[in-house]
Amino acid sequence: MSNYFNTLPLREKLNQLGVCDFMDSSEFLDGIDALKGKKLVVVGCGAQGLNQGLNLRDSGLNVSYALRKEAIEGKRDSYKNASENNFTVGTYEELIPDADVVINLTPDKQHTAVVNAIMPLMKKGATLLYSHGFNIVEEGMQVRKDITVIMVAPKCPGSEVRAEYVRGFGVPTLIAVHPENDPEGKGLLQAKAYCVGTGGHKAGVLKSSFVAEVKSDLMGEQTILCGLLQTGSILSFDKMVEKGIDAGYASKLVQYGVEVITEALKQGGITAMMDRLSNVAKIKAFEISEELKDIMRPLFQKHQDDIMSGEFSRIMMEDWANGDKNLLRWRAETGETAFEKTPAGNVKIGEQEYFDNYTLMVAFVRAGVELAFETMVQAGIKPESAYYESLHETPLIANTIARKKLFEMNRVISDTAEYGCYLFDQACKPLLADFMKKVDTDLVGKNFNEGKDAAVDNRSLIEVNEAIRSHEVEVIGATLRKAMTAMKAIKTA
């Protein structure tokens, strides 16, 4: 198998990267019709598998689960998840041959093995559904020509996919049809019907392509989402301890701060996040985030280049073949950081205090989101796709950090995200060394406004506001957020 993207002529590369259509709700009037009465077989029953299946069944579809023999015999968690909710469970051999649609919701790393095992069992003209395009695009999986290949990717954790559905809503979802595998032209109709089945059509559906999804997803997860949040968190904690701030306080500020800060991001973009700061702090955060953008731009560009050329996937798959040697070493190192080992102190930190005392993180988030977005768009990815893979997902990862800190965050995100996160973190820390030398506790650990004159120059404030608000990520974000404003806020702090 070879990298699918690299086999394409430039014209076709650009073509596929540019697939991006925010679908109107009128496109979903046929409901689940395209899948009604069909046999849907889900492979794998983790959080996404179970919760998507529960939704699909509650929407009137016929759902069962195909698991490996060992999982069934050993009554593993996946078996319990499916059987205790009264789904039919069987082996690949028992269920795949009758399936009209096979839904592959196993971890990325297993895709090649899983698809090789199920493909010979699939009946002629069936559909294979992915929720991530890595296997097709980066590994170059060749699927039998009679099979339709589609993607439906809810942009939220499995538990939320279920929670929003039973509330009567849904989560934003990305869909795609693989142009090499749409022999009957039914791919898009089935993908749309699947969205209705999971409730995603109520929260905004973006029609993308396998290529655009993979190239933007990899970029987002390794730079802003996991990479920069990890680097920023560790540097902030170390700086506070170095400057004599209580370690318990520092640990709590870092663990929960990023969630509180990005909740504003989720509701009203960079603008709302920056508006939570005082005028003086906002101007300062703007200045240092500009500086951060200049420092980190080459690194973001390198990540995007390596993703586009397939270099990133190549070295990661080398590590997979090598028993995850690098990944496990980096994971262990994350577990050993001082932040990870210092429990959050028993101190109360007010909601506003997270902004006032953690201005540095606000700057990191602005710099990271804008850089990731800009770099993706420069590489040919459309703004809507770039928005989902940068700004939209940042609060979700921040929520994971608040619940689990960094070590566990890395363990629960995808295989590709974790590997990319470590790569970024390794390169980014030395890059920021000089910058961090200048940082003092007014930016992290103490209230930035303390002892400062609150007055600002009108013109510089207007200029800063204008720069924040007119950025393309804000313009596109306002449109996309309108479709999902009704989602319930997640809060832990």
Binding site: I32, K36, G37, L50, L54, R57, D58, S59, G60, D77, S78, K80, N81, E84, N85, N86, S159, E160, R162, A163, V166, R167, G168, F169, K202, A402, R403, K404, A486, K488, A489, I490, K491, T492
Partner: protein, 489 residues
């Protein structure tokens, strides 16, 4: 006379530019146990929280604990609302979640919860188990928090307060969701506690109370007035002024199906080895008015969850709803659109960040929170019904900012807004005062005259609508009896 335990003078409390408590005075002496009643929104909870030091109010609140007593010198407030978090500290739950099984537990077990609480306060776990026993809670010790019903959460809250045995225990609506036997057991426990020296403040409009209660008060117009026991029980038969029901609710619901509303044949539900429903056979025909009864834990909520499309095990049972067999291509939204549902769990998990108006309008779409624009006809209907429930002024207020009783009224309006074919009212009047309860039951009687089918769950015999004609009684997950109540009269 000895020093008062609680001395409140000129207490004032404002909420949203409205005076809740005005120059309120209250003195509680040792060995007094108080019952405080009052209409919904009169300020009972605000006063309780102010005494417990949980909210700020202007004026004097002096607390004098007995330094010689062996009981801990603290005030414990058992709220009228319960809250819990999952193992990761979040509380983003949905009311159907207890029926969906996940292999990894997301919430702690009752045992772990109690042990954690006991360790924090230095209490002996054996004592907790004794209280657990007396409240018939033993079977649930290994259950997880998400699996508990609202009545069971209430018991867990009560266990914590009684176990601590503080010098002053404030119980806000302690009987909500408890069956008759549990209410009696609770009263015996509270009497024993008072015997040990704990002073009680009970906030409740219920009639049956512990024998140790020796002072009675009512809050009205922001003031606390002492009343006698007789006044408490007798004075509330003032004439009901019944408002005219909005026209759109006087029409018969448009029938959307033929056949029985519900037809269950040998329906059983188990979790692992634990059987929750056993061979239920039950047929509900169009227009019938049912009362569903049974003690806490008898399977009422599970039975109703099947009817509402909220239980995954519906798909493996022989069970028809609205004329079609479950699991034959219908969606849960096809089911919900015909049902108006209220239950304590629906209330508890409802989206509190929605406004009153949005909450009522969401009843058209069976969603928790409003995600569509309802259009002008429905817009008018929401306003009419808000007016009927006396909530029009609060239409833009967030649910979370209203007292429980008002929240409940809004959710009752949500339940009936679409004039559904089937009404499922699971303890609909929890948290309401007597007059509001009578009012609502009258409304239900009116709706049912139009041919609406009704399933009503209520623990309080005295507070049922008149139209009820049949009763199904559950015990330990099985049908104990089915009877017609009309013949008995």
């Amino acid at each position: 006379m000895s020093k008062p335990v609680v001395h409140i003078a000129n207490l004032n409390l404002w909420y949203r530019q409205k005076a809740v408590l005005q120059d309120l005075n209250w003195i509680i002496y040792p060995s007094e146990n108080w019952l405080v009643c009052g209409t919904s929104g009169s300020g009972k909870t605000s006063l309780a929280k102010a005494v417990a030091g949980l909210i700020k109010a202007n004026g004097k609140i002096e607390i004098n604990f007995n330094p010689e007593a062996s009981l801990p010198p603290v005030i414990h407030y058992t709220a009228n609302w319960y809250q819990f978090k999952d193992l990761e500290g979040q509380s983003n739950f949905y009311y159907q979640q207890r029926y969906n099984k996940q292999s990894t537990e997301v919430t702690a077990t009752v045992r772990a919860e109690l042990q954690g609480y006991g360790e924090k306060l230095g209490l002996d776990f054996e004592e907790a188990l004794a209280i657990v026993n007396q409240l018939c809670f033993s079977d649930l010790v290994n259950s997880t928090l998400i699996q508990l019903s609202s009545g069971e959460h209430k018991k867990l809250q009560l266990i914590k307060g009684i176990w601590l045995a503080p010098q002053l225990l404030i119980l806000d609506q302690p009987y909500n969701g408890l069956d008759k036997q549990s209410r009696e057991n609770l009263n015996r426990l509270l009497e024993a506690l008072a015997e040990k020296g704990t002073q009680l403040i009970l906030i409740s409009n219920d009639v049956e109370i512990p024998a140790c209660i020796n002072r009675f008060a009512e809050i009205s117009n922001g003031k606390l007035m002492e009343i006698s026991d007789e006044e408490r029980i007798s004075e509330r038969d003032e004439e009901l002024t019944v408002k005219a029901v909005p026209d759109f609710l006087r029409e018969s619901p448009i029938p959307t199906f033929s056949g029985s509303v519900i037809k269950m044949t040998d329906v059983s539900i188990s979790y692992g080895d634990k059987q929750v429903l056993k061979n239920i056979n039950w047929v509900v025909e169009r227009g019938e008015k049912w009362l569903l009864q049974g003690p806490n834990g008898s399977g009422k909520s599970t039975l109703l969850s099947l009817v509402c499309g909220d239980h995954p095990q519906a798909y493996s049972n022989d069970f028809s709803l609205f004329g079609f067999k479950r699991g034959t291509g219908e969606s849960i939204w096809d089911i919900k659109t015909r049902i108006g549902l209220i239950s304590p769990e629906l209330h508890w998990y409802f989206d509190a960040s929605a406004t009153v108006w949005q909450s009522v309008a969401s009843g058209f779409y069976d969603s928790s929170g409003l995600f569509c624009e309802p259009g002008s006809t429905r817009h008018g209907q929401v306003n009419e019904l808000l007016e009927y429930f006396g909530l029009l002024e609060q239409s833009k207020v967030l649910m979370t900012e209203l007292p429980l009783g008002k929240q409940r009224l809004a959710l009752l309006a949500r339940t009936i807004i679409k004039n559904p074919e089937l009404l499922i009212l699971d303890e609909p009047c929890q948290g309401l005062d007597q007059q509001q309860t009578q009012h609502f039951n009258k409304l239900v009687d009116g709706l049912c005259k139009n041919g609406t089918t009704l399933i009503y769950v209520g623990h309080f015999e005295a507070q049922l609508p008149e139209c009820i004609e049949k009763r199904i009684l559950l015990e330990n997950g099985a049908v104990k009896s089915v009877e017609s109540l009309l013949e008995a009269v």
